[in-house]
């Protein structure tokens, strides 16, 4: 099976004054293409740290990270930006939309950075808006959308640039259960239809229930790794 992510003995230490916290302790993990996986665990278990390292937002103190067969740990800040732009989609807890851009412009943002031609951008945006159920809202600013709608825009933006993997950090944390459920259904549908790999960081039971693989972290180590059906 083709691996999207390969993490080998990754460790991360945070130092605040004289206090040292070992957030990740030689964690090794592989995520295969098309997985719908979740990393769960209590607060401080290292979920977000692991997600930040996988995405190249933060650098590990030890070990190696490969995404799509490329070693991320040796890349410069600029190369990492390009790599994230072309290979990773992000969904954050607080929607992470650019408030001054409309729905359409927010979705287009990464494609603009990629240099996708205008006609193709418009076509992809129209298609994804239908898929995430936001038809007719392309000219609205994020402030005029509900939390669920904003998160749908974030999902659309993450997926429209055709990344290898979508990393979602607590994407349902600010949503009511009905909206969260609908959003997860939509992401599952995208996973099935487009074959996009999803990796969640969560302590939301609903995501854990939807995930086909559940990796549990505890004290910076993988406590369990459970694959369901």
């Amino acid at each position: 099976m083709e691996h999207v992510i390969r993490i080998d003995r990754v460790s991360k230490i945070y130092r605040t004054g004289e206090v040292t916290v070992e957030a990740l302790k030689e964690v090794s993990l592989t995520i295969a293409k098309g997985e719908f996986s979740a990393i769960a665990g209590p607060s401080g278990s290292g979920k977000s740290t692991l997600l930040n390292i996988v995405s190249g937002l933060d650098k590990p103190d030890g070990g190696t990270v490969e995404l799509g067969g490329k070693a991320m740990t040796a890349m410069s800040a600029s190369d990492l930006s390009d790599f994230r732009r072309d290979h990773i989609g992000f969904i954050f807890q607080s929607y992470n939309l650019i408030p001054v851009l409309t729905v359409e412009e927010n979705i287009e943002y990464v494609m603009l950075l990629q240099g996708v031609p205008k006609a193709e951008r418009r076509e992809r945006v129209a298609k994804i808006l239908t898929e995430v159920g936001l038809d007719g809202m392309q000219t609205r600013l994020p402030i005029h959308l509900s939390g669920g709608q904003q998160q749908r825009v974030a999902v659309a933006r993450a997926i429209v640039s055709r990344p290898d993997i979508i990393l979602a950090d607590e994407p349902t944390a600010n949503l009511d259960s009905k909206t969260a459920d609908a959003l997860l259904d939509m992401m599952q549908e995208l996973n099935r239809t487009h074959g996009v790999t999803f990796l969640f960081s969560t302590h939301d039971q609903m995501i854990m229930d939807h995930a086909r693989r559940l990796i549990t972290l505890r004290d910076g180590r993988i406590f369990s790794d459970e694959v369901r059906g």
């Binding site: 930040n52 995405s55 937002l57 933060d58 800040a77 600029s78 930006s81 390009d82 994230r84 732009r85 072309d86 989609g89 992000f90 954050f92 607080s94 992470n96 650019i98 408030p99 001054v100 851009l101 412009e105 943002y109 990464v110 603009l112 950075l113 990629q114 933006r157």
Partner: protein, 407 residues
């Protein structure tokens, strides 16, 4: 590129009040710079106009060395012919022939030494403003009448009034013999300058030439140009042509070098004012941009996370600085127009004050195209340069830290 231009412009209006206040502060700096320059130019122009139009002229011809000794026999070489030539010169607007000598004026009450000028009433009236500056009496009517124009202070000292008789004594050319003649006070003038009102007197040219035994000779030809900027062009061939044969033709910039020096000092003062104003503006811009950056720290983190390069993040900050500069420039130009419009209407009244010369008219600001093009352009470039500081900061942010700080 257009994406970041759009983002920068829209970001600027996320906090309208802050943008307006910051723009106003920068705009006020620009308006202050324009107004300072305009008023300084107006002041200097006023002083130059006062100096050159009152009596000096924009240029003068003398016999080389005359200005050091004022020896009576040092007349201009071929003075009358040179004067005729000058009157036909296309660049020259007006010219006036003069004699200039030390003289003694005696009244029944007192004695006063003066610089006695012989003037051609008609030519002098065209060039200088002696007739306008008379506070009593009348200007000289003919070139040979026995009338004298005295300064107000000289008249006070001599205790004479209009129509009173006085005796003028001068030393004649070559022999040095004293020549005396009786004049009646025809008019009393006030230039506003102690030196001129207490030390100058004017008699008709022919009278002075006869008294000094000059045989039609001249000590001075004052002249003005059609285009007054030519008077400052010392590379103009006319200066060397007029200086040929032992004469010396000088521009007002050399005759009243204090004024030219004052102008260059004014330029230097303007640079200092500019540096101080731009310094204040720089602090304002950096503060505004950093506030904006800190407010959007999470957003910057997200932008970097989804693939915005460090250079692009920096570019966005510089563009925001540039957009702020454009708003500030628009505000500054409007403020500058209003302030200078008011000053041009009412003027700044320092008339009667004596600096290098005595100002006669209110000071009006002088607006130039440079003030509304170069200064805004410099401000725009400067703002973008200052914007580099927060831009570099934004570029160096690591996405994870930025998102943590933003939360």
């Amino acid at each position: 590129m257009m994406l970041f231009v759009k983002l920068a412009w829209r970001n600027l209006f996320r906090n309208k009040r802050r943008t307006i206040l910051a723009g106003l502060m920068i705009g006020l700096g620009l308006a202050a710079m324009i107004t300072t320059d305009a008023v300084m130019k107006g002041t200097i122009d006023n002083m130059i106009a006062t100096a050159t139009s009152s009596f000096l002229g924009e240029g003068q011809i003398h016999r080389d060395g005359f200005r050091k000794t004022f020896e009576v026999e040092q007349t201009i070489v071929n003075g009358p012919a040179l004067f005729d030539k000058l009157k036909k010169e296309p660049l020259i607007r007006r010219a006036s022939p003069r004699t200039a000598s030390f003289g003694m004026i005696t009244s029944p009450a007192n004695v006063q030494s003066v610089m006695l000028y012989g003037i051609d009433p008609a030519d002098e009236k065209e060039l200088s403003k002696i007739d306008d500056l008379l506070v009593s009496g009348a200007y000289l009517a003919t070139a040979d009448e026995a009338k004298i124009l005295l300064g107000e202070k000289t008249a006070d000292l001599l205790e004479v009034g209009l129509g009173d008789k006085i005796v003028v004594t001068v030393a004649q050319a070559h022999t040095g013999e004293l020549s005396q003649e009786l004049f009646r006070v025809g008019g009393i003038f006030r230039f506003g300058s102690r030196q001129m009102d207490g030390g100058m007197a004017f008699i008709p040219l022919k009278r002075s030439q006869e008294m000094l035994k000059l045989d039609g000779g001249l000590h001075e030809i004052a002249f003005s140009f059609h285009d007054n900027l030519k008077s400052e062009d010392t590379a103009l061939p006319l200066w060397s042509e007029l200086s040929a044969g032992g004469n010396e033709a000088l521009s007002w910039t050399e005759l009243v070098s204090e004024l030219a020096m004052m102008r260059s000092m004014t330029d230097f003062s303007l640079y200092l004012v500019g540096i101080i104003l731009f310094g204040i503006v720089a602090v304002g811009i950096v503060n505004t941009l950093f506030m904006s950056l800190y407010e959007r720290m999470f957003e910057f983190g997200v932008m970097r996370a989804v693939g915005t390069r460090p250079r692009q993040a920096a570019q966005l900050m510089v563009m925001e600085a540039g957009a702020l500069a454009l708003i500030a420039i628009a505000m500054g130009i409007v403020i500058a127009f209003i302030v200078n419009g008011l000053l041009m209407h009412y003027g700044i009244d320092y008339s009667g004050s004596e600096f290098v010369v005595t100002l006669r008219d209110p000071i009006y600001p002088v607006l130039t195209v440079t003030q509304f093009t170069l200064y805004p352009l410099l401000l725009f470039i400067f703002t973008c340069l200052v914007g580099l500081y927060p831009a570099i900061y934004a570029a160096r942010l690591t996405p994870a830290k930025a998102m943590k700080r933003g939360l």
